[in-house]
């Protein structure tokens, strides 16, 4: 497969996963705001903080306000990571690899684009319309995944697409957890309070983990939830499960399952091992924010390593100029 094409497929899915995650966050925050005890202020700032685009937000808007946050994260063309831009980018990438994907996948991504484009063109949407939109976006993304799963051969392209999706997913799960740990709870006194529980439940729902967590652990506890989202090997959105899945893709792509044959495989293997042997009590004792921050940095490094190992044309271009000199 062409290196450029592999890179494009990888990003096509990263953007799609990002858009879906943003839609989840938004929907859950809406839910949360409805369940808050009286006199409790709605919290919209953490949503921007989760995405890592707080600086951009501050430069564009004077204050934090529900409607502005929603606009910023959903439609704002100035925000390269808004749902609109993510889906636009995903579609542009899909267009560029149209010959590698099926008609079904392409048409579904295209439909998703028109869904968001038409919504973006509407002024003053009601909460009801917006919630409907977020549901439609989530479902729309799920449809693409389903089409992808059902119609694409498990060839190289499939594994690069999958890699893009799960690395993005691991990153977003870590950010969601980070937001709760540091921002939602203003005072340690509130730990275990009803507000605390509502927030933990909302957080689980924002990564569609509530039902599976309940089934496994029953009781909601902060350490139980953190463990579930970081270290569980069976739940598909936990960070470790994502890394395990990414490792399988890299093994297929690199052709070796023992040790490593490229830098991407090595870095991913190291991070995965760290998580495999980690204990949640140590993580909490040593500072969960730092731990999650570190995971996010490592995920960025892995993404760069994937680029350099598979997509970059640099080595060939250098060879070419050498052969021209000879």
């Amino acid at each position: 497969m062409l290196g450029r094409v592999a890179n494009t497929i990888y990003w096509m899915n990263r953007y799609l996963e990002r858009a879906e995650n943003y839609a989840r966050f938004m929907d859950v925050n809406y839910n949360l705001s409805l369940e808050l005890p009286p006199n409790e202020v709605e919290q919209w700032q953490p949503l921007v903080l989760i995405t890592g685009d707080w600086e951009l937000y501050e430069s564009l808007y004077p204050n934090v306000e529900k409607s502005k946050v929603i606009y910023f994260l959903t439609f704002d063309k100035e925000n390269p990571n808004s749902i609109f831009n993510c889906i636009l980018n995903s579609r542009e990438n899909a267009r560029a690899v149209r010959a590698e994907i099926t008609k079904e996948v392409w048409e579904q991504i295209n439909a998703l684009y028109y869904l968001v484009k038409n919504a973006a063109a509407k002024k003053n949407q009601s909460d009801k319309e917006l919630r409907r939109l977020f549901t439609d976006i989530k479902n729309g993304c799920q449809l693409v995944y389903g089409m992808y799963y059902a119609t694409i051969s498990r060839n190289e392209g499939w594994h690069f697409a999958k890699l893009g999706q799960i690395i993005e997913r691991a990153d977003k799960t870590s950010r969601v957890l980070d937001a709760k740990y540091h921002l939602l709870l203003k005072s340690p006194k509130l730990i275990g309070s009803s507000l605390d529980l509502i927030q933990w439940a909302a957080l689980l729902k924002s990564v569609s983990a509530f039902d599976m967590y309940r089934k496994k652990n029953g009781k909601l506890t902060s350490s139980g939830i953190a463990e579930f989202l970081i270290l569980d090997t069976e739940f598909p959105r936990s960070i470790l499960a994502c890394l395990l899945s990414a490792e399988r893709c890299l093994i297929t792509l690199s052709g070796s399952s023992v040790g490593f044959s490229n830098n991407a495989q090595r870095q991913l293997g190291v991070l995965k091992s760290q998580l495999e042997y980690a204990d949640i009590n140590d993580i909490i004792a040593n500072g969960m924010h730092e731990y999650l921050d570190n995971i996010q940095l490592k995920l960025n490094d892995i993404s760069s390593a994937i680029y350099n190992s598979f997509f970059s044309i640099e080595p060939y271009v250098q060879n070419q100029s050498q052969s021209q000199v000879q």
Partner: protein
């Protein structure tokens, strides 16, 4: 529900493909008309709207150069088809085969023996001065001696009901994806008609294209690629569509690299040799080492690899010389010279401004003529005399006097018309016809075409970049 009513339909003295001069339905449209007359205008509009939506959902869009990046338009598909009778098509087919064969021999000749100049059939200077004539190819013969593998000629039908060739497109003719997708959409729009009417299928175009490309090399399972300028090119939809339908690689210039005069793709597993490239990048841009130095769309060394016979480029570079509108005027003589036959499909009468008498006539009669710049396409650089102002005419006269070689003129042709949905009614709109030919082991004309339609009332400009739309073209089996 009110039934569709054609009683007010007015052919206005133009040749209409559906109605004759007495407003009787022509035989090829008989069955279609019966179906339409059992349909209300409302139903027809509903079908049309469903079609518009289908085009968007297929992503059948193109970018418009003059607009900002990201502005996409669909090539509007009008659901009333153009229907061509079998005998009429046979005539077209023979005419196109003859023409393409002769043009191919002509191109081979001008880059090799140049007998056509020695025998004074066409002025040598005219060809050698053409910007599309590539001196680098003198003495070169492409694989199997085929230069123009893919042709999309533009035909029109005049007031006399005769077909004329308006233009040859031997560089990168586009639109074939619309022919194929239009058919898919119309099969959904009028399924019952396809059952009753014996319409020739077009679906195997991409199979034939792949066969044609593979036939050019003696390699088992050659690697075939479609080369595109990228997603912002106006025909990108088509490039990706063809690559996908053929199972070929869709590459950009930056995906390729030339080493030891061989062409490779840069893949996730290293380099992979490429054998045949259907390139949709113009000659000028394919190789910055030889042509436009600033081009980022091409691949350095590609032309060198081609000359060494290590890769096949389709169409061959240098064929654009035939698209020159001044050369067009000589094609009747070219066909006679190479084939020893009279031209089956006539040209439109063409005045060559580079010839003294013709030029004088053009300047004196400019208000009655269509003047065209010889190296422009897409409906740009032209003057439609009868619809122009005095000032525009004077501007063109100045341009012609300044560089006569760059201009030709033709009488205004009243393009034939086909009923077309316009707001809440049906009116005649002017059309042209672009059939596609593939030259591999033999010359195949795909039984269908892209019919382009001028959607603006009274307009004769059918180009997609100028507000034209399209129609599906049905060639009947019987």
């Amino acid at each position: 529900m009110p039934k569709l009513d054609f009683s007010a339909y007015d052919t206005k003295g133009f040749y209409d493909e559906m109605f004759d001069e007495n407003n009787n339905i022509r035989p090829n449209y008989q069955l279609f008309a019966e179906r339409l007359q059992n349909m209300s205008q409302k139903k027809l509009n509903t079908l049309q709207h469903a079609t518009d939506r289908a085009q968007l959902s297929f992503g059948m869009t193109f970018n418009v150069y003059s607009d900002n990046q990201g502005i996409e338009r669909i090539l509007h598909l009008d659901i009333i088809p153009r229907i061509i009778a079998n005998n009429e098509w046979n005539h077209l087919e023979k005419g196109l085969q003859q023409r393409i064969k002769a043009l191919n021999l002509f191109i081979q000749d001008i880059y090799n023996d140049q007998n056509v100049f020695k025998d004074k059939i066409i002025p040598k200077e005219m060809i050698l001065s053409s910007v599309s004539y590539l001196k680098e190819l003198v003495g070169f013969k492409p694989p199997k001696d085929i230069w123009c593998h893919i042709t999309g000629s533009d035909l029109i039908k005049g007031g006399d009901g005769m077909y004329y060739v308006l233009e040859d497109n031997l560089r990168c003719p586009s639109g074939v994806s619309y022919m194929l997708e239009n058919r898919e959409i119309l099969k959904r729009t009028f399924p019952e008609l396809f059952e009753k009417l014996d319409v020739k299928p077009v679906y195997n175009y991409t199979h034939t294209l792949r066969d044609t490309l593979e036939s050019l090399v003696d390699i088992d399972k050659p690697t075939v690629a479609v080369m595109t300028p990228g997603i912002y090119n106006s025909a990108y939809f088509e490039h990706s569509y063809l690559a996908q339908q053929m199972g070929a690689e869709l590459v950009e210039g930056r995906d390729l690299i030339v080493k030891n005069d061989m062409v490779y793709m840069i893949t996730t597993n290293g380099l992979k040799r490429v054998d045949v490239i259907y390139r949709r990048v113009d000659d000028d841009f394919i190789d910055p080492e030889v042509f436009n130095k600033k081009s980022l769309l091409g691949t350095p060394g590609l032309f060198r690899a081609y000359l060494k016979g290590n890769v096949v480029l389709v169409n061959a570079p240098g064929t654009g010389v035939v698209d020159d509108k001044a050369v067009y005027a000589y094609i009747p003589r070219i066909i006679k010279y190479y084939m020893g036959e009279d031209m089956i499909l006539p040209n439109v009468k063409t005045y060559i401004c580079d010839e003294k008498d013709d030029c004088k006539y053009v300047i004196e009669n400019i208000h009655n003529l269509v003047v065209k710049q010889t190296d422009a396409s897409g409906g740009y650089g032209m003057l439609i005399g009868p619809k122009s102002t005095k000032k525009e005419q004077e501007e063109f006269i100045a341009k012609i006097k300044n560089k006569p070689r760059n201009y030709i003129a033709q009488p205004m042709i009243n393009l034939s018309r086909v009923p077309t949905i316009a707001d809440n009614t049906i009116e005649g709109r002017h059309v042209d016809l672009r059939p596609y030919a593939l030259y591999g082991e033999d010359i195949k004309i795909i039984p269908g075409a892209l019919t382009r339609v001028a959607l603006k009332k009274g307009s004769i400009v059918v180009n997609s970049s100028q507000g034209g739309g399209s129609k599906d073209t049905w060639v009947l089996n019987s």
